[in-house]
Assembly symmetry: C2
Homo-oligomer: 296 residues x 2
């Protein structure tokens, strides 16, 4: 398969759907919707939505049916970027090649835009459940697992831990524990929610969840490597910042070569998780291998 | 009925349930759970949960069954207080008689604690739906209406509008439009979600929703009046700040006497919305009249 064409096609579909579920606002609070749309519709790889759609298809589901979940995942990811970029957090000026939300608007608007996107994610999920009442029980499961992955037991807890670890010497175990929460949990939830709502059986959902966990780790390792080796212009955000902030990263504890070897061995294990799946899982196979060679 | 005893008993039940659904955290992100619990369990009237429980009982439902919704409403309210108190927003030092979250912890932790509480609200709602699969469709409805009330079409949009209106001369229509979003939407959702999940019929839900809308307005008018006439020690937060910030308030556009008259006439109309309900709606009747005499 042509992964580049696949990613481009999927990104276009997701972008269109995101613009549809979050139309421009009106009335006295319209400015916050403008800021939400600025950050949500301003680029991004759409990796979480694409993982969700691909997982649904891997179990024989229709990607269109899980589209509300795909959109919600991207909204949650975008809110987390807006809040992480705030001066009190990572204090970043550049994101997806443009000024960060608080630079383009202001801090108060950026805080509210993040809050609005997080809330809108659950609005979109609930709207999905209302449109498919026969799947309401499955949607309750999906909303639960996404909230768990995004909240204090997942992404929010991971961001807290990441901030606390700045400037502290970290072991591999600590780095992994932080990243499992900070980025791993939502990536895993993306695969798992797609598999569940796509109609996967318990064994399929379990296998894809294991795949998703490894995908999350590989993503973080390669993300850390890009911060060392990547190019600011290509990535649309500042590089080399992990070292400046003394962040807990894989290259910092394993070295660059060690981190690369670790990522390669995890890719092999992730492919093994997909063994029982047929050609419908090819996009997932391509996606996980692509992590090793991505430039942004 | 003895409203004071009723409120005390309900607050105790809600407090206990909130502490149960958000136990202390462990692991690298435990600090954010500590901050979430600091703000969530540190007092508060629990007005939104109590409204939700009372609305369920008004339609003959069991309050215990809507407890997850009651908890979620208080979590959303608390997150909004944490974020509104931030330096980039209202920059408040005192809340519920104690240092605000960012004063007690720090700004980054407070942002994350708010994010964590908002996410946990939907986790609790989804957990409620999982526990009562026969009500999963009704829960989808409830999650949808709460997300709508809390997000950019409700509370978040209202906070944005409120910030933009600071220092601007406002008409009564503008003040009402802002407060319908900022506080009215979530108070209305509290009543409506209790009525819906409590098993109310369409006419009952519609009547209680109208009651909730008026309740929201009366609450905001009396809140504005307390900022003029209330006592900092009694209220546990700074008073007189609306005038300092040139906020859009009812006393500012109607005068103190005019705002009081407006509140009284809305209470009469709210009581009329409850006409077809029997004694089971007495707590709601008492609650709305209590707004006129509350000291905090």
């Amino acid at each position: 398969m042509d992964l580049k064409a696949y990613l481009a096609e999927r990104k276009a579909v997701v972008d269109q759907e995101l613009a549809r579920v979050l139309p421009p606002g009106s009335g006295p609070g319209a400015r916050v919707v403008e800021a939400m749309r600025y950050s949500l519709l301003g680029g991004g790889k759409r990796l979480r939505p694409i993982l969700c759609l691909a997982a649904a298809e891997a179990v024989g589901g229709a990607s269109q049916q899980v589209m509300p979940v795909a959109c919600a995942l991207e909204m949650i990811h975008t809110y987390s970027l807006i809040h992480d970029d705030l001066p009190a957090m990572d204090d970043d000026d550049l994101r997806r090649g443009r000024p960060t939300c608080h630079k383009q608007f202001d801090e108060a608007t950026a805080i509210l835009a993040g809050d609005g996107l997080l809330t809108a994610a659950f609005l979109v999920l609930a709207a999905g459940a209302r449109q498919q009442p026969t799947k309401a029980v499955l949607y309750a499961e999906v909303i639960h697992l996404i909230a768990q992955a995004a909240g204090h037991e997942g992404m929010v807890g991971g961001q807290m831990a990441d901030l606390l670890a700045e400037g502290q010497p970290s072991s591999l175990e600590q780095v992994e524990a932080i990243h499992r929460l900070k980025t791993g949990a939502l990536l895993t939830a993306s695969v798992r929610s797609g598999a569940l709502l796509g109609g996967g059986g318990p064994d399929q959902v379990a296998a894809l969840t294991r795949f998703g966990e490894k995908f999350g780790l590989i993503f973080q390792i390669t993300d850390d490597l890009l911060d060392v080796e990547g190019d600011t212009a290509e990535m649309g955000k500042a590089t080399g910042m992990d070292a400046v902030r003394q962040k807990a990263t894989y290259p910092a504890v394993l070295g660059v070569a060690g981190a690369k070897a670790q990522a390669q061995s995890l890719v092999a294990a992730a492919l093994a998780d997909l063994q029982t799946f047929g050609a419908a899982a090819d996009p997932l196979r391509e996606l996980v291998q692509y992590l090793l060679v991505r430039r942004k």
